[in-house]
Amino acid sequence: MRVLTRLFGFMLLAASVLLASAPANAQGNMLETIKKRGKLQVGYGSFVPWALRDKQGNWIGFEIDVTTKLAKDMGVDVELMPTAWDGIIPSLLAGKFDAIFGMTVTEPRKEQVDFTAPYSQSGVGVAASKQLAAGLQWPEGYNDAKVTFACRRGIAACKAIEERWPKATLRQFDDDAIAFQEVINANAHAVMSSEPKPTFFTLQNPEKLFRPTTDYVTTGVEGFAIRKGNPEAIAYFNDWIGKNKDWLKERHTYWFKTRDWADKAAAN
């Protein structure tokens, strides 16, 4: 399985490189292409509270709010293209959609895509198992071969764990909820994920989980990712982000700091 995962990673990388070196059809002025098409095509993966389904099966979330408003301001419709997160960059490079919204800016990603100015700040938080990790000193005690971390595959938090706790074992899962479940079941010591998940899970499972720290372990910023070579689009988006700073902040607070949306969402 491990070999397969690696092969898989390699494939995606190869796909990215190949597609990046020979960009697909959507060349030329990207903004004009969008306006001519009358549709802004946005790729994203489901990730609470960025993008999730309400009980009607419709998409809601911070990212959805942002894309909807941006498209409206551009005078076009928005076409939401839910995409498996594993292949989302190759999909962008292959021209399946115009932009990925809400992608954490990292150096390796910057080599493949261009980012706009950040419009959101996120932090990776930690939750730990009371049974396994109560006696461990944060953070030095966790850098131990006996300690197991859990995280969702492919997100920035995994990278952070590898860098800061190199001796610990890292187990990656396809889904955040499973990563948290492993810690609740005392199969892993601690789990890292973008806030607000660590907070919410700890609140829901007070007898099993605790927070070694409420500080962000790492912080990251998110922007829109688009194919390289579209400076006019970057400029346009940056301008839009600048003009809508307050609105973005208000939406971010709503989705990340409150649970007012909880009754709309399917999660309980």
Partner: protein, 311 residues
């Protein structure tokens, strides 16, 4: 002189066979049963005590059906929509991979070297690549080149209402037609290689003598294949085809990796949105089981029918 042979002639009679021995459990059976129950019980107990999980099935149900807020109509929600896509992928996938399998399988048994080589190359290439890797290669390197050239979305947009209706029955949401067709092709090209091997084995399972009989009667090569070889080959292929088509249904979940919105993909969304991972997984596993189980029953019935036709 030899004495006359005396033959005792008895009344010819027949009677029914003695009653069958009733089924009964041997001690070995009992031990086996006990072991099986213990295993199941142990897993159940572990799950109950060790897995600390608050089961909550109620959050799944809204995702089966929803009521339209405006009209009040019942409509399929995510899981059912995904299931419908999976069903379409399965049915169309069987047809398309069946066609690919027949063509390549025939090429593999052809008398012409070039055809045999092409057939073998296809089968060998696909059979020796892990399905997941194939899905990605196909999606990013092959489909990305073919689909824009086809301009499917534009053609569909310009098509007449009847064609649009027909297509929507076949592929579901027309806005996602490219997405669906890529998934279908990916699945069919992959499974076609396995079906081709089954077809090849099926054709080769028909005795050479049958072909000679057809030849000697003056039937053309095509007619020999169509009327003599295929009917017999199909019967021999049924059990293997059943397995392969069940495999196809399960493989259809792989195309969720490239964002084809079938059952697994939708289930993933529901998992993330509800945070009810295990409930969704188990529920979806149940649906796949029902699908595959029904298909295997269908094939059992077909096999029985095919057997009847000989006797």
């Amino acid at each position: 002189m030899t004495p006359p042979l005396t033959v005792k002639i008895e009344t010819v009679y027949s009677r029914s066979p003695p009653p069958r021995k009733p089924l009964h459990l041997t001690p070995a059976d009992a031990v086996l049963l006990a072991l099986a129950f213990t295993c199941v019980g142990y897993v159940g107990w572990r799950t109950h005590t060790v897995l600390d999980y608050r089961w909550d099935w109620s959050s799944i149900w809204p995702f089966l059906l929803k009521r339209d807020p405006v009209t009040g109509e019942l409509q399929p929600n995510l899981i059912i929509t995904g299931l419908l896509t999976t069903l379409r992928l399965a049915v169309l996938g069987m047809i398309v991979s069946g066609l690919i399998g027949i063509v390549i399988g025939m090429a593999r048994t052809s008398r012409r070297l070039l055809l045999r080589l092409i057939g073998s190359a296809y089968v060998m290439l696909i059979r020796n690549i892990p399905p997941v890797v194939f899905v990605f290669i196909f999606y990013f390197f092959i489909a990305s080149q073919i689909m824009p050239a086809l301009g499917l979305s534009e053609r569909v947009r310009d098509a007449g209402p009847l064609i649009r209706w027909l297509l929507s029955v076949l592929v579901g949401d027309l806005k996602l037609i490219e997405n669906f067709v890529i998934g279908l092709l990916c699945l069919s090209v992959f499974n076609g290689a396995y079906v081709a091997e089954i077809v090849r084995a099926g054709i080769q399972s028909v005795s050479r003598h049958q072909i000679e009989a057809g030849d000697s009667l003056g039937l053309s090569r095509g007619d020999v294949l169509r009327f003599v070889v295929f009917p017999q080959a199909t019967r021999n292929m049924l059990p293997a085809l059943a397995s392969q088509f069940i495999q196809l249904i399960k493989d259809s979940s792989l195309v969720s990796l490239v964002s084809i919105q079938e059952l697994s993909f939708m289930a993933q969304d529901v998992q993330v949105s509800t945070q009810r991972v295990f409930e969704v997984l188990i529920f979806v596993a149940g649906i796949y089981f029902l699908l595959c189980f029904s298909l295997s029953r269908l094939f059992e019935w077909l096999e029985r029918r095919a057997a009847l036709a000989y006797r």
